[in-house]
């Protein structure tokens, strides 16, 4: 057999080699020259972005008293793949959980629905925020628990028992918050309420990152490109609130056992000096791990302590609103300083009756404010709405009225730097057209005395006081005085002038002064500074609400305050004395002995609200 017979077979072999190499090159082209999918997967494999959390900014009151700070806490992390020979009993005892809790937690980590980012190779959160005391025990034994690691975090701690609504709290981001932002990752913390939420961006700072190389076993092998792509974290900015912690503490004391709110504003700057919402709660309840159970408990409470009534509660302003009416009528020329209306125990006209208490009649504006005459302001509004020589229609008159109210900061959010502000209610012509069809001034007359459809937030009432104190303008009330290394928003420092001239404000201020000297607010009088005030007694379905709005001193106002006590009865019962104490505390820096006794008395006076759902 001659081998040459089969020489052609060298081509078969060469052909096989050629086909193999060509098909492999084609395969390489398919893998390497198509899309970037494999590149991404390789990067996901190799790069470990180690997030470095910046420290969150701390919060002070206006006098530099620390309110909120950070404390280190320790998250226990687990890498499932590395957990071997775990003495479960010892482990559970060390961190203080039961065997059952351990099993449940491990199952929850492995559940891809609850924990979408699960991998047996990477650190998973086993237990969040272990306090230092427990951690030190754990740390000693950690070498025995293979696969368990520690991640240092900080938890928010409160240096005060007050200001819960203002300060708010932080908690883990929700899934929705992660989806709506490209900053947050699951497990991050975010401000949920109060200034923690409204100043989240300033407080949190910016996360840093180290791009590390991670090998197949999850071990870190160094910085990628020698740290070229690493970013240092930017620490959060510290906040100084405009709140005076002492005034706030007094306010919360005085409101114990009552529902309602106190808001005090520095008129010159719009800075909120105190903002009490009652019932309140101790901010310590929001610290650390216990937050979710505490939250649940408070959400179930029929008194709804979580609501910040100072900005979210909308109430009929009652007689405090009369000041705004007087201002409007003066500016529109409906009345002047001498215009007097009669009041025979109220407003009586064509079968319409709005009651009033006994006082001299007829009377002009200043004593009308001092005595809180219902008849006067009902007549004023009646004359305004039925003045066909000035306004072609009642609608036009109503629209004019509404514009005055809006210019005073009613009917819309003031824009305070806190979440959850309500806008209150100022009816307009359109509203009555829809609701009443054909209507006349008598049908809506109760808005003149702050009843009916009109509602304001306590913040808006306090802002009315600040506007009168400033004689015609206000600065958007705000709670943050300064951001360290930053600025507060322009919108919080701008003056807003109302549609009423300064001279008319002067008259209303005189009326309010007269109310303190010889009218409804006599108990607010002080021998040391001139107080101006206006009571409010707002009718509602239950017992009347007790309200007060005032400022002091009259000629150089340092504080404007609004007090609103639900079902407190007459304005003079709770509103006036509480308002007076707040003013004294702020202006004098302390309470006199007599005032202190008065404060203790009011602290002890509770109102029975029953248990009905509110």
């Amino acid at each position: 057999m001659n081998h040459h017979t089969y020489e052609y077979r060298k081509f078969v072999l060469a052909g096989i080699a050629l086909i193999v190499v060509l098909s492999y090159i084609a395969r390489l082209a398919y893998l390497q020259l198509s899309d970037g999918e494999y590149k991404t997967r390789a990067d996901n494999n190799a790069f470990f972005n180690n997030i470095i959390f910046p420290s969150r900014g701390v919060i002070y009151d206006r006098n530099g008293k620390l309110l909120v700070y950070n404390q280190p806490a320790y998250d226990i992390m687990v890498v499932m793949r590395e957990v071997t020979n775990l003495d479960t009993l010892d482990f559970c005892n060390t961190i203080g959980i039961t065997q059952q809790q351990f099993d449940e937690r491990m199952l929850a980590i492995k559940d891809k629905n609850k924990n979408p980012g699960y991998s047996t190779y990477t650190q998973q959160l086993f237990m969040a925020q272990m306090p230092l005391s427990e951690f030190s025990v754990f740390q000693e034994k950690m070498f025995r628990f293979h696969g368990f690691y520690v991640r240092e975090r900080t938890i928010r701690r409160y240096a005060t028992n007050h200001c819960a609504h203002i300060l708010g709290d932080v908690a883990e981001v929700s899934k929705q918050e992660v989806d709506n932002s490209d900053y947050y990752a699951p497990g991050d913390y975010i401000g949920k309420q109060g200034v923690e939420r409204s100043y989240e961006t300033e407080l949190r700072g910016v996360k840093g990152v180290e791009v590390l190389l991670r090998d197949a076993r999850g071990r870190i092998q160094g910085h990628y490109k020698n740290g070229e792509l690493d970013r240092k974290p930017v620490p959060g900015k510290n906040l100084t609130l405009s709140i005076d912690a002492k005034v706030q503490a007094l306010g919360e004391r005085l409101m114990e056992g009552k529902m309602g709110a106190i808001v005090a504003i520095e008129p010159k700057t719009g800075e909120i000096l105190c903002m009490v919402s009652s019932p309140s709660y101790d901010p310590h309840r929001m610290e650390g791990k216990q937050r979710s159970t505490q939250m649940l408990e408070m959400q179930r409470d029929p008194m709804k302590p979580m609501i910040n009534r100072a900005i979210s509660g909308t109430y009929p302003p009652g007689s405090t609103f009369k000041t705004s009416q007087g201002l409007t009528f003066l500016q529109e020329g409906i009345i002047d300083s001498t215009t007097a209306y009669s009041c025979s125990h109220g407003f009586r006209f064509r079968g319409m009756k709005v009651g009033c208490h006994g006082h001299g009649s007829p009377l002009p504006l200043i004593p009308a404010i001092a005595t809180s005459c219902n008849g006067y302001f009902c007549w004023g509004l009646y004359h305004m709405l039925s003045n066909r020589s000035k306004y072609k229609t009642i609608q036009e008159a109503m629209t004019t009225w509404k514009d005055y109210m809006v210019s005073m900061g009613f009917g819309y959010k003031l824009g305070v730097d806190l979440p959850g502000e309500a806008r209150g209610m100022i009816p307009n012509a359109d509203y009555y057209d829809r609701r009443l069809g054909r209507w006349n001034p008598l049908g809506v007359i109760s808005i003149a005395i702050g009843q009916g459809e009109v509602t304001l937030t306590p913040l808006q009432i306090a802002n009315l006081g600040a506007t009168i104190a400033n004689r015609g303008y206000y600065i958007t009330p705000h709670i943050v005085k300064a951001v360290e290394g930053g600025e507060i928003a322009d919108s919080l420092t701008k003056k807003h002038y109302t549609k009423v001239d300064k001279r008319y404000y002067e008259m209303v201020a005189k009326g309010m002064r007269k109310a303190v000297l010889g009218g409804t607010c006599r108990s607010a009088n002080s021998s040391q500074y001139a107080v101006c005030g206006k009571t409010g007694t707002a009718q509602n379905r239950g017992k009347d609400h007790s309200a007060f709005m005032g400022f002091a001193p009259m000629d150089d106002p340092q504080i404007a305050v609004a007090v609103y006590v639900e079902n407190g009865g007459f304005g003079a019962t709770y509103g006036v004395p509480i308002g007076a104490l707040i003013m004294e505390q702020y202006i004098k820096g302390e309470l006199s002995k007599a005032s202190e006794a008065k404060a203790a008395m009011f602290q002890a006076r509770h109102i029975d609200y029953g248990t009905r759902e509110r």
């Binding site: 017979t5 020489e7 390489l28 997967r41 090998d215 160094g222």
Partner: protein, 489 residues
């Protein structure tokens, strides 16, 4: 001038320097790849003895020395000592089974010193190639004689068995490469084809077993295998028996019934067409057996055997797979791409694909491959070394390596064909078939195309034994080739 002078000068001139150049290119390229694959973050010195890249320099250097030594040995020695070398090597393989400590589940590594171990299986190939060459160069050797081919096949299978006994199945499979050489030397192609057909049946049948033709309860895998079995068998009758009548009868039976069954299933009642096809196949086998008895031509009997094997292999293999242990079945299913299991059995292949795919056109650059440097690909410096090439040098580098290999194999074919005596030619073809087999399986598995069989990529994979083994294999051939002219004189 003495005769000695002439011969050594002649040898120097007739050495095939092109092959040596390709060899050096591959070894140096391989070293750079090993550097990437073995990069140690704690010890970034590429030349340190502590690192694999440092050791590979030593293995490369000693390989060159080994090559030089081989070039000094005269052909006479290989010629006369071929069987002795074979016997000695078999003995070594046998001893290895007994004395080698178990390493990663196999007993194939002999410890020389603390850190140096050798794998005799890597050196046995050249001994088998030499023995085969010597046997087939024997006066009166005829590959068609069953005794002659029988001994040759025994020479191949004996070391295979020993290596399987060392639990190095992958290395044992390499010896199938010798059948490609036997084919070149005149072994009937039908045997090679039967082997090829079996692999196709197995792979296609299992891969598409659970895919169905649209609107019909017909497994695509089963249907394809039966259709191929018919086609292959009928083609064999045509090619080997030149019996057109039988071919026509068989084609009518098989294709006719299949087409009718398909149409019936499509337009009347859908049913499993494969039953009809299976019946047609059985009829076909009976006809061929009848022809064997009727015409007394043994070829018919062989074709009938092929047909029976073809028809039954699909059913046997699916039965076997169904009864396999879970992990073995998973391995086979992952191999065939039936199931995707990136964390388990498919991990290596998946990570290898990621490594290569992430390289792009130009690669990430020397020592910049994250997949390989961070050890995401297991065995990346040995069996999966091609990943490093793909990741760090990209498509250009990986395709480049394949082309250099193609040139290398082409050069070996040219050299083998120019041998005058059978021994050198047989040896040459053995060498090139072994290289081709390694290239085919190793690169194929890294690319996810062939089963994961743990054999190295010659000159690239880290390791002294394999580098020395391949150097030995190649340079004995270079030495034999260098003397081709001397013998002529």
């Amino acid at each position: 001038m003495t005769e000695q002078n002439t011969s050594s000068k002649g040898i120097f001139l007739s050495i095939d320097w092109i092959t040596i150049l390709l060899y050096i290119i591959l070894i140096v390229w391989g070293w750079f790849s090993v550097c990437g694959a073995c990069y140690d973050f704690n010890n970034p010195d590429l030349f340190s003895w502590e690192t694999n890249s440092g050791k590979q320099i030593v293995w490369g250097g000693t390989s060159l020395v080994l090559a030089a030594v081989i070039m000094l040995i005269e052909r006479r020695l290989f010629d006369s000592a071929a069987y002795v070398i074979y016997a000695a090597m078999m003995l070594l393989l046998l001893v290895t089974i007994v004395i080698a400590p178990e390493t990663k589940g196999s007993r194939s590594w002999l410890p020389i010193t603390e850190s140096v171990k050798i794998q005799p299986a890597e050196f046995a190939k050249f001994a088998v190639a030499l023995a085969l060459g010597k046997w087939m160069d024997r006066y009166g050797f005829n590959i068609k004689k069953s005794k002659d081919i029988g001994v040759a096949i025994a020479l191949i299978f004996f070391p295979m068995l020993l290596i399987v006994a060392q639990k190095e199945t992958g290395s044992a499979l390499v010896y199938f490469a010798f059948f490609l050489m036997l084919y070149r030397e005149g072994m009937t192609g039908s045997l090679l084809f039967t082997g090829f057909a079996c692999v196709v049946y197995f792979v296609v049948g299992l891969k598409f077993q659970n895919d169905f033709i649209t609107y019909m309860p017909v497994s695509i895998g089963e249907f394809t295998v039966l259709l191929l079995a018919m086609t292959f068998t009928i083609s064999m009758v045509w090619i080997y028996c030149h019996d057109l009548l039988t071919v026509n009868i068989l084609a009518t039976i098989c294709y006719g019934s299949t087409v009718i069954a398909l149409l019936f299933s499509l337009f009347a009642i859908p049913f499993d067409v494969c039953y009809v096809m299976l019946g047609a196949c059985i009829l076909m086998i009976l006809v061929i057996i009848l022809m064997a008895f009727y015409r007394h031509i043994y070829k018919y009997a062989l074709i009938a055997l092929f047909a029976i094997l073809s028809t039954s292999l699909y059913y046997m293999s699916s039965k076997v797979i169904a009864h396999m242990a879970d992990h073995q079945r998973t391995r086979i299913e992952v191999l065939l791409g039936i199931t995707d299991d990136p964390r388990g059995a498919g991990y290596n292949v998946n990570q290898a694909k990621i490594a290569i795919g992430s390289g792009g056109l130009w690669g990430k650059g020397f020592l910049n491959g994250t997949q390989t440097k961070l050890k995401y690909v297991p065995e990346q410096h040995t069996d999966f070394i091609f990943c490093t090439v793909g990741e760090e040098e990209g498509f250009v580098g990986a395709a480049g390596v394949l082309i250099v290999y193609l040139l290398f194999i082409w050069r070996l074919i040219v050299m083998a064909e120019r041998q005058i005596d059978t021994m050198s030619r047989v040896y040459g073809y053995s060498v090139l078939c072994i290289f081709l087999f390694h290239l085919f399986i190793n690169v194929g598995m890294v690319l996810g195309l062939t089963p994961v069989i743990g054999i190295p990529l010659p000159f690239f994979s880290y390791g002294g034994s394999s580098l020395w083994g391949f150097t030995l294999l190649l340079f004995i051939f270079l030495r034999l080739d260098a003397e081709r002219n001397l013998k002529q004189k």
